[in-house]
Symmetry: C2
Subunit: 140 residues, 2 copies
DNA sequence: AAATTTATTGAGAAATTTTTTCAATAAGGA
DNA sequence: TCCTTATTGAAAAAATTTCTCAATAAATTT
């Protein structure tokens, strides 16, 4: 049983063909995929897969922190598998490829600074970088 | 002529009643508003305002960096007026109120770290914090 | 002021995206 | 193998966003 299967089981969820197909599609993609793309590609693995199930599953997997949502330049959202210990991603603005990084930045210091400036207590954050991947730096 | 009016004029855009209504609604809100909410509230100021115009105007104003899009916990997007010199926001998870902050963090250092780890060259970033505003810290 | 040019608008249609409903299915435990 | 019930697919419905097009009105020129 794979890692994510164990995670789902542990939360009392069932391991179904639809969920396996969706996670496999995500894990094999190098770029974020939309729900519709996930559905199309998933049907190659499990023909009866329906779009509603993709939405339901993505929402479930996001709660379980097994997939991550990224906000792309065009405004659309895409989904990626999430690796434990990697809270952040950097997107290539040219090819869309994504890399994860742990994010050992000085959040303590930032939190203190923001709290001083705004009065808000910092609890969480969304950080997403945009740049050029090694491959596109060569070609472009 | 207000600041944003000058900004729009300078880009050769026209100052219309619809745009004034939309920007006024945004500037008077303490929380991010959806396009539909902006339309409804805008119609109180300028009755014939249509939803299509709201979408077009938000897209325009976002390009001009006069409004900012924020990603909320429920997954929906909202819009806010953007202050020059403030690239980042912190959202209150309780009341939704937003504060801006300049973000003088050490991006150089972070960029170098990420480049070393991932090979990507960092060009831009999206940072959004979540926390509790002073008011909700008291009450909650 | 009036005429002219053309960006902008509102209304409605259309396209897209997301959620809901519900009977049928199948996963996991007994 | 049987039971319980989470999960599913299909279709409908709801919500969101974009597009089309004739009418309007903002800014410039006369």
């Amino acid at each position: 049983m794979s890692d994510w299967e164990a995670r789902l089981s542990a939360s009392g969820r069932r391991l179904t063909a639809a969920r396996r197909a969706i996670l496999q599609v995500l894990s094999e993609s190098t770029i974020p995929l939309s729900p519709l793309e996930i559905c199309r590609q998933g049907q190659a693995r499990y023909a009866p897969l329906g779009l509603a199930t993709v939405y339901r599953t993505l929402s479930l997997l996001e709660k379980e922190a097994l997939v991550r949502r990224v906000y792309q330049e065009n405004g659309a959202c895409g989904y990626l598998p999430a690796s434990p210990g990697h809270r952040h991603v950097i997107l290539c603005r040219s090819c869309g490829r994504v890399a994860e990084f742990p994010g050992n930045e000085d959040w303590e210091g930032l939190a203190a600074l923001v709290q001083q400036t705004t009065g808000y207590r910092v609890e969480d954050h969304l950080l997403q970088l945009v740049g050029l991947c090694p491959n596109c730096r060569q070609g472009g």
